[in-house]
Symmetry: C2
Subunit: 609 residues, 2 copies
């Protein structure tokens, strides 16, 4: 051992002990004949005092930032105590020191407020990893890992490793593939998830499985995606949806407790996918704050209680509203005093290409009970009042209204709601709100191919009451323009997403476990019998030998850690992340390989002309 | 929930409780008007009793082997108790049952002594996994996983995930590669181990790292190798060899304790690589039994104490011995009464191609003090006695002697020793003996390329005392025939292997942490400066910014589990293993992929002509 203690443990009661420490030079401060050095390691920082004698030697054999040194010395009480660090009451009178390794001057400062840009820090990731902020992120990640494993272990789950070299069965996303040298012309695929394997384990009777496991997707990388990512992957047998929800609420509660010391005792709300879409405009609502979306042209079966104020529908006269497919609003609390400049700025905000609206209407619900809107010439005060009542606005609120095509407008009001929540400080980094979104549609319609695609994945079971609809109807869509009237359009899935602060952190489903229903599902997705057998024959086979009812869930581990760490970026929580082109700039990978390697793998490069 | 209890928990004190169970039908036994069914799940087996009424229903809706059923019933005390299973005192009087899923007749019996052959069981791995034996193996594997994680956590190690899509830097073994779609003509590689990443983490100050992680090697598969395998991978900073040995002896002791309830309190012996080769003929000796190898033509510096008996060297007169480069022997206890048939059979055994010797000589040390050998006409009784003394043989022992070329003969005597240990029952499956093998040579000589190759890997440090030999000498070998006299031939590595019952279960080293020495190492291995920078520039760069002294170890997790489970085969301890051609016969992977996939990846198939 190069040390008797770490740089984080010495305290006032250790005074007079002779110790050996080893670590990195954080700072050097020379005061005349003496020099103070802050020595850093994973565990903390300890102040070293080099007296007159050693100071002489320091001139011959100088230290520098990030040098690795070993020192022997005596623990002293500091005259000038530092209450901000745990070792702040002591310092080490250095008796001897050895430079274990020197360091060039780092290309950026190893500090929280580093001067290094993103690219530089990624290239020198091994130095970036020294920064406290990054270290805390990886420590948090490990704490989440540990907490999840403990909870799952205590609940009878077994970690069972599934293979990485599997078969390519691309469905939604593209597979990464691996050419096989021993099987010329053939390829393995890297798993997008261990989905089929965990289901096989249930067929094998393993009952409760988990894995914290790398998964791979060869997708064009959006801002915060990685080609390799980590899942907490779980599956259980003999369960129904409620059992899964209860078990995995428990998991997240435990992680809150272990990692953030938060007792999350609130019941976790459940919302149907349809309600989420109506009330928040998206399927992963942030419920840390209210501001629900009101649809002024709502179909009668939604929000019946609120119909009163607008029982005769949205008043006519304002062409923009009249002609719009959808008119939606949110009521922003205590913002009726927004200036013209402020409402103009909001209008510009919704007109940005990312949002894509053509304008913004608003109603100021003045504190004195009067109303002032951006469309006063079309609506009477009474009519404005009705709109305010329907939006449950209070005196002092500002109602923001968007009108346009259904899908874009819904998305826009959702973004606007989040933006206003942020501006009003309602999305607090250290407040956490869980939500289950349930009752997803089983299928989505693909207009390009005029067929159904699986909203979750092809192994998700319909709601038990909808199984007969699926079995007894043909998936063929004879009238594309009326696809919404096809019986399949209304089949609900036995699927659930867990949402935390507006992010989907996990999702899963009760699975199909009957061969016949699984075959029907593959057929519904336009897969021929041959294709289904070629790709998933092993699973269909397994369902013939006593497959139990089962279901599961997978959590996006990187994302979960980022949210718990109060960050937007998963990259900060991955030790060696890749950039948006899927490159590791530190390694300079991917890279070309030798001709001999290509030859052995029976492949040739085929560069785009 | 489909059940109130599992099939393993009900006991006599639960009598009269109404319960709901779910599981698989293991056996059905009809006795007149009643039927007994054994219901199985992961947790155990519970006997069900179908009375007269239900028996009628069973005729309409019959059960079969491996059907999945849910039953409601009342716990009764059994009249005919089964003391062999924990639930053997009770049975369930079935009130109602539901078939959750039926099962075709399995292609082999789900029993310990199954009638299914290897290939069939691999194809239907999901059924094979139902067998108790396989289940116990995977449970043991999880227990080892859990135990290792707990120990490492308690000792301050952090699980930090390293990337799977890295850069190809093939050294010893071939890399699996992954074509990059987004970077045309370039490839990722799958890691053969996280070696360089864990070293970077030490440079980053993480101090104690671990991971239980998949690694990949594209090798021609020998009997018990897998293209993907799992390592317990660890690294520590500011340590010397002794610190690592102590820490990881502790890990294995903890695993023995947690998994096998064995208190392994013996100190773990250490043997130098050179002594292991002399005394056991190989570098991973099984020390559960003695029978050390004696070398009758030993160089004078080895075993000086035993020189007495043969102080004038091996007696002349027997051409086979005279002309052999090496003459080695083991003394097999209490086997002097071997018949001619038995010694002939042993002679055949060593002449098999796998062993490849041309014959076997022996000396019977008779209980009456006389000697009888297979070469009596050349050696006097006194001379035989000298040989016996040198081999430390006792009256009643049988000395087996092999003569031939050094390397083959050494390997043969090692195999013969293990075979005799096995035949005499000295290699007990449930006895465990750990051993550290240390002081490996740093380099091996490659006669093909007339250069040095790294025995462990290029990151292993020489012994501190040998660093100057490496720095101050050129690696170039001017006289290939005298390579043993090159200063590099005697450089010892700061490396260590942990051996359990004759199997290497782990290996590691203290690493090079100085850029200059690492560059010298790459040069010694025949790598040009450019090549070293291209492949390992990131590591050399990292060593410039304050790299601490560090070292580590990696355990072969699959192998460790197999040995703890008393098995020779790692495949039995992997949920979804591949066969010797690297195929998953259940998935039928690897497989061909679509032309469109190939196109997108910028590659073409190039089948061997």
């Amino acid at each position: 051992m190069y040390r008797t203690h770490t740089c984080g443990v010495l305290r006032i009661q250790d005074v007079q002990t002779e110790v050996t420490l080893a670590g990195w030079v954080q700072t050097i401060r020379k005061f005349g004949a003496i020099t103070f050095v802050d020595l850093r390691d994973r565990y903390g920082i300890t102040q070293l005092l080099f007296g007159e004698e050693l100071n002489h030697r320091l001139e011959q054999q100088p230290l520098g930032r990030e040098f690795v040194v070993q020192i022997r010395g005596t623990v002293l009480e500091r005259s000038n105590k530092n209450p901000n660090i745990p070792t702040g009451e002591i310092e080490i009178q250095v008796l001897n020191y050895t430079v274990l390794n020197s360091s060039a001057v780092p290309p950026f400062t190893i500090q929280d407020d580093t001067d290094g840009g993103d690219d530089l820090r990624m290239k020198y990731r091994y130095l970036d990893l020294r920064r406290n902020m990054v270290k805390h992120n990886l420590e948090l990640r490990y704490a989440v890992n540990r907490s999840a494993r403990n909870y799952l272990h205590e609940n009878g789950f077994m970690d069972i490793e599934t293979p990485f070299l599997i078969k390519s069965t691309p469905e939604g996303a593209r597979d990464f593939v691996v050419p096989s040298r021993m099987n010329a012309g053939q390829f393995y695929a890297l798993p997008q998830s261990p989905q089929t394997f965990k289901q096989l384990l249930m067929v094998s009777g393993y009952d409760r499985y988990y894995q914290i496991v790398k998964c791979f997707r060869d997708e064009d990388l959006r801002a915060d995606r990685q080609p390799e990512f980590t899942q907490i992957d779980c599956e259980m047998s003999f369960v129904e949806q409620e059992d899964i929800l209860r078990m995995f609420e428990g998991l997240i509660r435990r992680i809150f407790k272990d990692v953030k010391a938060i007792d999350y005792t609130d019941p976790v709300e459940k919302i149907s996918w349809e309600n989420a879409m109506w009330r928040y405009g998206n399927d992963k609502p942030d419920i840390r704050f209210g501001m629900p979306v009101v649809n002024y042209k709502f179909p009668p079966h939604v929000f019946p209680a609120k119909q009163g104020a607008l029982s005769h529908g949205l008043p006519g006269g304002f062409k923009v509203f009249e002609e719009a497919e959808t008119v939606v609003a949110i009521s922003v609390p205590r913002c009726s005093d927004y200036s013209r400049k402020q409402t103009d700025e909001l209008t510009e905000w919704v007109k940005r290409p990312q949002i894509g609206m053509s304008g913004l209407a608003f109603i100021k619900c003045n504190p004195d009970g009067t109303f002032k809107s951006s469309f006063d010439k079309f609506y009477s005060e009474t009519q404005l009042k009705d709109l305010a009542t329907a939006a449950e606005a209070k005196a002092g609120d500002l109602i923001l209204i968007l009108a346009g095509r259904e899908e874009r407008t819904r998305k826009a009001i959702s973004e606007l709601r989040l933006e206003m929540g942020k501006r009003l400080g309602l999305r607090k980094e250290y407040e956490f709100k869980l939500l289950w979104v349930v009752d997803f549609p089983l299928f989505e319609y693909d207009p390009g191919e005029n067929r159904w695609i699986a909203r979750h994945h092809p192994f998700t079971s319909p709601k038990p009451s909808d199984i007969s609809i699926m079995i007894n109807n043909s998936p063929v869509i004879d009238h594309p323009e009326k696809y919404l009237e096809h019986p399949y359009a209304n089949i609900k899935a036995n699927a659930y997403d867990m949402v935390l602060n507006g992010n989907e952190i996990g999702g899963g489903s009760i699975r199909i476990f009957q061969r016949g229903l699984q075959e029907k599902m593959f057929a519904a997705l336009g897969m021929s019998r041959e294709e289904a057998l070629h790709k998933f024959g092993f699973l269909l086979g397994a369902f013939e030998y006593g497959a139990p009812p089962h279901g599961g869930i997978a959590f996006g581990f990187d994302r979960l850690c980022a949210i718990l760490g109060g960050s937007e970026s998963i990259r900060d929580f991955i030790a060696f992340p890749k950039n948006n082109s899927g490159r590791d700039v530190m390694l300079d990978a991917p890279a070309t390989i030798d001709d001999q390697q290509l030859e052995e793998l029976h492949i040739r490069i085929n560069l785009p002309g």
